[in-house]
Symmetry: C2
Amino acid sequence: MNKFSAKSQGSSNKFELPENVFGALSAEADLYAFSANDPIVRFDQPIDKLWYIVKGKAKITMVHEDGKQSIVHFLHEGEYIGELTFLEVEKQHKNVIPLCETLCLGVSMERAKTVLRDDPEFLFHLNQYVGGKLIQRTWFTVKNQNYELKNRLAAYMLMSQSEGIYTQKHTETAEYLGVSYRHLLHTLSQFRDQGYVVKVRGGYKVDEDALEVLAKDIQFV
Amino acid sequence: MNKFSAKSQGSSNKFELPENVFGALSAEADLYAFSANDPIVRFDQPIDKLWYIVKGKAKITMVHEDGKQSIVHFLHEGEYIGELTFLEVEKQHKNVIPLCETLCLGVSMERAKTVLRDDPEFLFHLNQYVGGKLIQRTWFTVKNQNYELKNRLAAYMLMSQSEGIYTQKHTETAEYLGVSYRHLLHTLSQFRDQGYVVKVRGGYKVDEDALEVLAKDIQFV
DNA sequence: ATAAAAATATGAGATATCTCACATTTTGGA
DNA sequence: TCCAAAATGTGAGATATCTCATATTTTTAT
């Protein structure tokens, strides 16, 4: 993980740094770069910063008693990390692992807990963020338990595909959708038999129209 | 649904009305009583109050395209209703149906949207509430998809039992746990065969020690 | 009190999903 | 470059769960 000064990023940036994501503390934010798989948060270590993802994406995993992990969420640009620690409601920590080169703004958790607690604009904004995540998760849970894998997988492939090509790792997809790797592969091979997907170098080309039908109204966000 | 003045409830109350759940608006709250199955919120009607449950419990159901409903959450004393509408992040409304005689404090949604938006203490408190629900739901989802019904049912029976007797309706339990009614009954009869539960008038007497083993670390809240 | 609706209950067959076993290919690090 | 680890892929059998059918009991409304 490398640290930069958020301020020192001249006008040559390839993207705009967001201005106001930490309310009254926005001026104190620093920019950090994480490479893929370089943990942003580790389940066995305290969280000393409140983060905001500027670019990249990450997965949150929960560590089970038997050492296995489950992906519980994906985080994308514009999402916070550590907000539940800021709110002092997080019981057990999770791992947050970048899936690719990821840039984050970070402010001191200690400062946040004193300053942002009195910042109604930030608090309302954070409330909307957390509320939105609650809706996402509730919706996902209901869909997840009422449809079988072929439907959920179709929706997931559509959500995560880029330019018609699906490139996710099967191991992670299986974890996220909560099915065994074996069964995921079985369903995927049915998709191939039926022509819904075609294997190409580096991924699968998806027949979006066919998958839309299967995906019904399942919405990953 | 009957309305009372919150103020007019003299000292003869059987319970204390909470003081500060609506922050700066707490003085404007009125007390309402709903009988079982008398909807507090209907999916096809706007939510014009922000609610707080003083006594009783309710279920939130989501209406599917085919008209079927799924229970997505239970609400107990000390929980809010309509907070996602207050935050302006609710996309589709749900039904909120009391499971028994239920008392709620309510304040005008319109007033809340103007006054409480600038009340940092309330916003932080609400943030903790919503964050806590997000954690609950995430945890529940992960457990729900990694354990089979016998484990989830054991945890659910322990959670919802009172004085060693489980009295929930099987139809609702099946909905909530996301399994077919048939399979729930099948698992329940296995519990009976193995002596984990004994049918008594009005419910099932549960062997808490035996169920604890099955329930593992699954935690409904 | 009666009829209708909901909840409870059980059986049988179908299938979605899991576990385990094993082979091949790709990837990441020394 | 090479090795170990991770990811991919397939087969076979077990089982958790679903669908459908149907009967009885309890609750609710008239």
